[in-house]
Symmetry: C2
Subunit: 358 residues, 2 copies
């Protein structure tokens, strides 16, 4: 990696996340080689810890006096944790509607939090905020942290380690399905793999696929259609928290890097995503937030379109933990209430009636 020699990550134990083999969803579809990369197992519960470890290391190297960031939630939760550990005051400008789990993390780590109506949802408002923050960052003698190469290339180098780990843990992978908001994650994984191949020229790169909710079609549709560029959308209307990124940001580079790998674009409905979240929990024991289930929704779409063969090996990146977004879990929990009994005597009857309902 072309990092400054002295830049070691400021670590809280991120990375080296588990890669586990699907026990049900793959085999049920005749696909024996489906894998999940559990970024949920990072210290703050999402892959953004890899970003924060490098971003905060760089802030310490450059003697920044504070961390100034925008986030839909996970970047903020990660930066809040890492900045707290580094003793850096942390200010986070949140997109509208960041879910409560991520908010609670940022609050607990002591970050200062502010949100502006329309931020992240509306393209114009978002761009105006980025402009304003760039000026503020310059006043603060720091640079704004956003998990995108356009803004924070050093932090994104931390995310590239996902590519290294996959190349090492499953060198024979054929497909990697990656969820995209602005596209930075998919681009980082492409670049990680490319760096790996640079060192090991005989290494065979997998196809890296970009999966987006229909309500934030900035990259995936154009990638599939053979176009050269990503597109901004006026309003991101997906309900999948974290993937509402109306602007292009890293979209062009992402589209080109995925295409170079032989990857395709997949658009999935919000219902596909919530369904993928449900089967991850109920059939695989994997507790993911909706954005963390988007890759699996893309894998299922690819299978439906006949774009994968049964002997090929696929990885879905499970980006964030279910606890990040409690309301998204509510549909699953409401269907399965907790029963209260007043005394021990009722226990036997409960099990008997439960038995007959099974």
């Amino acid at each position: 990696m072309d990092l400054p020699q002295e830049l070691l990550p400021f670590t809280l134990g991120e990375g080296s996340t588990p890669l586990i083999r699907s026990k049900t969803i793959g085999p049920d579809q005749g696909q024996g080689h489906l894998y999940f990369k559990l970024e949920t197992a990072n210290p703050s519960g999402s892959y953004k810890d890899r970003f924060a470890a490098f971003a905060v290391a760089d802030m310490l190297r450059t003697k920044s006096e504070r961390c100034l960031a925008t986030s839909s939630g996970n970047t903020g939760a990660a930066l809040a944790a890492y900045a707290a550990a580094a003793g850096l005051p942390c200010h986070i400008v949140l997109v509208e509607g960041a879910p409560e789990g991520k908010l609670a993390q940022m609050q607990a780590h002591g970050a200062r939090l502010v949100t502006v109506k329309g931020f992240g949802i509306n393209k114009e408002i978002s761009e105006s905020i980025f402009g304003k923050l760039a000026m503020l960052a310059s006043d603060y003698q720091t640079q704004i942290q956003v998990s995108a190469y356009t803004y924070s290339p050093v932090g994104m180098q931390g995310v590239q380690t996902i590519g290294f780990e996959l190349a090492e843990d499953l060198p024979e992978a054929d497909h990697v399905f990656v969820p995209a908001g602005g596209g930075g994650l998919a681009l980082a994984i492409c670049r990680g793999y490319q760096l790996w191949k640079h060192r090991q020229p005989e290494f065979k790169l997998p196809k890296i696929h970009c999966v987006q909710p229909e309500g934030n079609n900035t990259i995936a549709g154009n990638l599939r259609a053979g176009l050269e560029h990503a597109q901004a959308v006026e309003n991101a209307f997906t309900r999948v928290s974290g993937l509402q990124v109306a602007s292009v940001i890293d979209g062009n580079e992402t589209l080109q890097a995925c295409r170079l790998s032989g990857g395709n674009g997949y658009l999935v409905s919000d219902e596909d995503v919530f369904d993928a979240q449900r089967i991850l929990a109920q059939c695989e024991g994997v507790f993911a937030e909706p954005a963390g289930a988007v890759a699996l929704a893309g894998w299922r779409k690819s299978l439906k379109l006949g774009e994968m063969s049964a002997d090929e090996k696929s990885v879905c990146i499970i980006t964030g933990n279910g606890f990040k977004d409690p309301p998204s879990v509510a549909a699953m929990t409401a269907a399965n209430p907790l029963h209260f009994l007043d005394n021990v005597g009722e226990l036997e009857n409960y099990f008997k009636s439960n038995e007959s309902n099974q």
Copy 2:
């Protein structure tokens, strides 16, 4: 380990959790060698995944048709996930007052949940429930899963891997601080270390300390007082979820194993625990549930009592993630609200006034 040869864990990526060095709390006290073992980074967010991986592997080996368990939350969340992945129906009898984060996990993974008034709080009610469940388990041709050697020695062998990892990652550790409800975790770590020493007789064991909230003093007080046995308490009154275990369970063996290692008992107040939870989040970037901060409260008590020297190396086991118990985080979040702005123009003023308040 004396496991059946064929028993490999049924894995969802548990274990090999990070061991990170304190960046602030230790150094601020002149203690340069304080470490945190982040069991929060297990797939379901607590060390109980190690238990579930072995317990479910054993259920599959013995062809159990269902999983029947009691839990204060984390064992249930882990078993619900692993049983879902294994395709085993899962029934969990919860102690009264299990926190909502753990509940949501169990519900999402599709476990059947029931709770009985007084369970886990009152010794008599608890013992009567265990009796009833033992009979039900026999009807179901399974055995009841409780994260304690008394009930589930095979599952507890999974927990022993914490000892192996610590022995490997920090062989020169002097002290390991472990939170205790029934004591199983501390006992498992002692046994893991003992097995390690059995293979490497020259290995120097650390002192393994048992830390309990004052409101559940079953082991720690008697360990410190030099007594031979643990004691039941009539009602566990600590507010630290997961550590309300009124009965002795593994307490006698735990007390003896800790003493054999040279370890001591530490009793901490609930306020000590909530304070340790807060400084973990705000000074170390570690998001723990209250039970996950108990070990640090014990470490601070040891320091206060002058029972540690500055050059000694200590590890605190951070057992569970902050998201497990949202109300416990509420005090931290309430002090740090999110600010809503209506438009971009207000952003500059917000930062200016924030600046002057800093």
